[in-house]
Symmetry: C2
Subunit: 341 residues, 2 copies
DNA sequence: CTGCGGAAGAAAATCGATTTTCATGGCGGA
DNA sequence: TCCGCCATGAAAATCGATTTTCTTCCGCAG
């Protein structure tokens, strides 16, 4: 077995270089106020390299009150968008020299209460909140604790800075697309409309319909739970309206998969019988049958902006809420077509 | 604004209770050797509750050489299976009182080198390695560093304990299923066969064919890269073989989506013209068109076992490699049918 | 009355890095 | 020759919690 070398400490480096730990520390951290003979500096740097020295993050964090770690509270259960957000956050954090600690909100009910530990144990310099389950009490605790945080992909009145995308605009683009194709009877599988960002998408849907001068027919907007089965049933319900919608928008691409299945189950063929599209892009969209038209939202930019806003707060600044400014992009694929085509 | 209360320290609790920090610490941690007047104990516990005290994780970790955090090195880029593994790991860790720090292997090329920081800065008590990109040098460093680790979802000769599933068995079940349906010309979209676990799936495929007395025809096993486009093209290639395969197995459910699209693009209709199924279950499988037959592997049990093995190593034990023992389950759906049906 | 033992709790060392405060030695100027 | 200052670097305090090592103080037996 490899000699499980006890971790290399700063004292080891200092000793090998024949200096004290204070100088070693200041040289290794590039303290500009240090005055030192070039050869001594070299000895220290060499020693550190030789021993493959890395400062103990806990000791360093304790002293500096900086952990170089951010936390993200997110619900991993629904794949596409959240996984993409998590990826983007991790990437942005890593690029800034930060590590990412995750807490799944499924823990809200668990004994572990991982999110509370992130909050109260000072393990992280800041927190990104990207969970649906953030309630008022939680936000209150958060503010009282004084831990920097940014709310990601949603906006909560008075809660603090957030980074989000312009869901309403994106949804309007979706409606516009269908209107241009001649659709007037547009149904909306709206998801959990009581919570952000689904609520803002609904706003965008209504705005789009109003702008086109189209009425929203009774029962054409159908909220539902996020699980696949609920989406499947909601879609089926929508397709039983008479007159039947000739086009459907689904609030999320993850939900579009069961929605599409439900359309087929109803004996209808997209896009001939009914066009269907989703809000947000997904890597599988182009491989669905038919390939799914989507509105590509700048989630990556949002995640990036969220991380950077958080790090600015950590540095004592007070950034304002951010809405990713990259314009949404309509990705037209085979699942939408002219009415009656 | 809320008075950003400086974090509550143990000394604050002790002071409020009118005792020293040593007693306070021992009482709060339930030290059984402490002897204390019941009323004093109460005062301490009350004080802690009143102040909403949580020990500073860094200070605690520094002293105890225990961070109550594990790290996972994983590639988030390919969604389903990795996201599922990450979810399961986070859940198991949280249930055991541990937090989870992630490092995406995309960082292997980045400046941040998040994975190295996990390794060398003593931020975590142990590491789960679930990445495709783990090379020999990395494993060597890992062992030399003496940080507990478990390799997840893959096996590396001589590298150390791992937690995985019986890929070969699962793949045999897939082959058996198709054989029972009368297929003799079975193609395999094999993915990155040079790396585990795709290599073990290939072994299972070959074993299944041999057991059924079927030859593996030239070009019927087609390795490919993991990206969707490579899968799409590989599938198209397979379908150009003559005689044409009457059934396809895809090494992963994520890859099954572009594979299915490729089948349709070739003008073939599953399952009449060609059956198709994937290894590993996915939440969208039942909503694809046609619904995808899969072999459900016990990834959650694997993740659980991996976490627990890791925690045992942290506790000084020496668990052996684990193969999740829950039997794979064939989930028969519409994408597979009798030959020529 | 003296001393012993244990209960109850305080004081101090420790984890490892950073940072402020001190000490030493050499050099130039008076 | 002597003083003071700067370059160099060591010693010590700090971050917050844990844990080992003392102190007290009291009651009770001898």
């Amino acid at each position: 077995m490899a000699a499980t070398g006890r971790a290399v400490r700063l004292a080891d480096v200092a000793h090998l270089a024949g200096v004290g730990t204070s100088i070693a520390s200041r040289v290794l951290n590039g303290d500009p106020t240090v005055s030192i003979r070039p050869e001594t500096r070299e000895r220290i740097l060499d020693a550190a390299k030789t021993l493959n020295y890395r400062p103990n993050a806990l000791a360093r964090g304790l002293r500096l009150a900086r952990t170089m770690t951010i936390g993200i509270i997110i619900n991993l259960a629904y794949y596409y968008e959240n996984a993409e957000i998590l990826m983007a956050v991790e990437r942005a954090a890593a690029a800034a020299g930060y590590l990412t600690l995750i807490a799944d909100t499924a823990d809200f009910v668990g004994r572990g209460e991982a999110y509370r530990r992130l909050l109260f144990e000072r393990r992280v310099d800041g927190l990104l909140i990207a969970s649906i389950l953030v309630n008022d009490e939680f936000v209150r605790e958060l503010k009282q604790e004084g831990l920097p945080f940014v709310i990601l992909n949603r906006r909560v009145r008075g809660a603090g800075p957030s980074a989000s995308v312009d869901d309403a605009l994106g949804m309007r683009m979706a409606v516009d697309h269908l209107v241009e194709l001649g659709h007037t009877h547009i149904g909306y599988v709206a998801g959990p409309v009581r919570i952000d960002p689904a609520s803002r998408r609904l706003v965008g849907f209504r705005a789009g319909m109003r702008a086109a001068g189209l009425p929203i027919r009774s029962g054409f907007v159908l909220p539902c739970a996020v699980d696949d089965d609920a989406v499947f049933r909601a879609t089926a319900d929508l397709l039983e309206r008479r007159p039947r919608p000739t086009a459907l928008i689904v609030w999320s691409p993850t939900a579009a998969v069961p929605a599409l299945a439900s359309v087929r189950q109803s004996g209808l063929r997209p896009p001939e019988d009914v066009s269907i599209m989703s809000f947000n892009e997904s890597p599988i969209a182009r491989y669905l049958n038919p390939p799914l038209t989507t509105v590509h939202m700048p989630l990556e930019e949002m995640a990036d902006a969220g991380v950077h806003a958080l790090l600015r707060i950590v540095d004592g600044e007070h950034p304002r809420s951010i809405v990713a400014r990259t314009a949404p992009v309509l990705v037209t694929r085979g699942s939408t077509g002219h009415r009656g085509s």
